[in-house]
Symmetry: C2
Subunit: 388 residues, 2 copies
């Protein structure tokens, strides 16, 4: 909680405009986070993962500070451009792209693309050809699979290929005349282990050597995201990640360090945002002595808290009664969907005095909330955001 | 697939407007479904569950046909009214309501409310008082827990209380001067067992008796939803449900049958809608002989197929190559979110010849798709819908 957010919420309530849940994001925190990343990894270019929070104010601030942008779609490319970033600061980081979307991104000036298979390389090659763009100007990097151990929102095998295949994919890009630029990986979102980059960097250096053996000089390693934000548990500072990554880079690449980029999303905006929600109901399912309380909020899984899926992300929730005795409760959202339950397998401790109408503050909600919200589920509007 | 949907999709493609996934809903199917429900349960009032698909065209058709409406929020109440239904045909079926939302619904004329605890009864009582509405005009029914066995999208314990507690809740309503009207339950969405209503009706009849012992004459049983739509497996026809429910009613209530209402959502619109999507990528993660294919569509968990959560709802997917040999694949959506995978634990058989750019048809997609879609996740727009 920052003073600015506190003041904003107070003013909103005083004006009687506090109907419905709201997310408030403090740009000062984003500014501090960017500065911390730039200091912790001074030789690494920062590509902010736009999907984490594409608010125009956030993108504008980061563009002014010199950030680059990792985008997932043409719409995100356009948002990054609209924020003032030039196309050479934009990466199309989604490995799953329609060929016509690649074409549009190329026309918008984007020259940096992620791939994880030969078919995607061919789409880029054809799209460049169709757009009349010299293939050699288009840089591609190949994403490799990574086990994601230690991450709270671990990645599936959805993105990336095995390292051995990456060599073939990059060679294929080379044969198509594209610039085989490097390797990317993602150690898993909300990664608590600062050493998690070591194994993937070992794979990356092997790919660099094998490509060199085939006459292909790779030059870039995309270290991905994974930098955590603080939810309930303390997380290591970004400087610890910087130190550990630099050690791993030196270990695996010696004195031939590659160019590097990082793609923080959650780590850039997570702790900058806070959701204020309201308790709609507190009830029990029976009169049994040991029956657990159910607490229902006016925000749930479909209103912005999608990352509570499988109870993965456990937000810190503050109330005005936190000095009181706590007792565990099941926490649920407001919709008529019975899957809209936030925490049940591991009940959430909340004050026994928490009542209907009380406000609660959900911390660390600046990333992966507003855009995840359902467009109109049960008639509820999507989560409102104020950037201050 | 209906001829009308086929023609619509063909025309759309011919006009070159088939960019992005689309859901097309055929009102003729909705009309047939309503007629089937009305025939299968002739003495039961149908309250369409608006949340399943609140398209104005759907609501208008059902309003004209005489349907009532089960709503989850004030916005849904307003949509039902806008469709031409009078307020006496609207139930506020969400057990989790803000007091000010109850007040708004009362002002809009709604007099039928779900509850599952005493606190909710008190909100209704206060809201009626504040609105200057005679408490005795306001009907409340108490939802009870139900085990949901046999359902493909089983319900958690989120809604309802144990039957013993329901008697107290209804008595509490009575003491507040409200009209204690009856009992509701939900046997679980996509319920394949036509006998699933039996156990809950036994509980309901016990509550009727116990309330009668306390001088409270209940008169209504809300049989909820749960009526399935056809996905991959065949489901029993609605007339089988009607017969089984009538048998169970007679068994538990003898010749003193209560008024009944049903709340079909999926059963009313599920099979009326079909999604057309596009294959963005087909790839493998390694060159290993037994490596599974990944097929990526331009729609996924955050674009409207939220009910693939935990691989619960298994849609029937048609392609233009269905005569070909099939092989299992992992099916995933287009976003940069690794949780956006539809079927992986149980891979989905698709033709080996399925290629990038091919269209696929996802059947039974008329319910719980459009409004679940994320507002802008990864920059992708929400699922478009055409009602024909």
């Amino acid at each position: 909680m920052t003073d600015r957010i506190r003041d904003f919420l107070r003013a909103r309530r005083d004006m009687g405009q506090d109907e419905g849940p709201v997310m408030v994001l403090d740009l000062d925190v984003v500014r501090d986070n960017f500065t911390a990343f730039a200091r912790a990894l001074p030789d690494t270019r920062v590509f902010y993962a736009v999907k984490a929070n594409p608010a125009p104010e956030v993108l504008r601030l980061l563009a002014e500070m010199g950030s680059c942008f990792d985008t997932a779609s043409v719409v995100e490319v356009e948002m990054a451009l609209a924020s003032g970033a030039t196309a050479d600061r934009i990466s199309f980081g989604n490995t799953i792209k329609k060929e016509r979307c690649i074409g549009r991104a190329l026309k918008l000036g984007v020259r940096l693309f992620a791939v994880d298979c030969e078919a995607e390389v061919e789409k880029i090659s054809r799209a460049a050809d169709a757009a009349g763009i010299e293939a050699g100007e288009v840089q591609v990097f190949c994403r490799i699979l990574c086990d994601g151990a230690g991450a709270e929102w671990p990645l599936s095998r959805k993105f990336g290929c095995v390292p051995e295949m990456a060599v073939d994919v990059l060679e294929h890009a080379c044969r198509q005349g594209l610039h085989a630029y490097g390797v990317s990986f993602h150690v898993g979102s909300q990664q608590g282990n600062i050493e998690a980059w070591d194994g993937a960097l070992a794979s990356a250096s092997t790919i660099f050597r094998e490509c060199a053996d085939r006459g292909i000089a790779l030059s870039m390693v995309n270290l991905g995201g994974g930098f955590p934000t603080k939810y309930l548990k303390a997380v290591p500072g970004v400087e610890s990640y910087g130190d550990a990554i630099f050690r791993a880079l030196t270990k695996h690449f010696g004195n031939q360090l590659p160019e590097t980029i990082i793609e923080p999303g959650r780590g850039m905006v997570g702790n900058a945002g806070m959701i204020e929600a309201e308790v709609i109901l507190v009830s029990k399912k029976s009169d049994a002595e040991d029956e657990i309380r159910w607490v229902y909020l006016d925000i749930g899984k479909f209103g912005g808290l999608a990352e509570t899926m499988d109870e993965s992300i456990r937000y810190a929730i503050r109330t005005e009664h936190d000095e009181d005795r706590m007792s565990p409760c099941v926490l649920a959202g407001p919709t008529c969907d019975s899957a809209d339950v936030l925490y049940e397998k591991v009940p959430y401790p909340l004050p026994v005095s928490l009542s209907i109408g009380d406000k609660v503050l959900i911390e660390g909600a600046g990333a992966y909330t507003t855009t995840y919200a359902a467009v109109a589920f049960n008639g509820f509007p999507p989560l409102q955001q104020y950037v201050i």
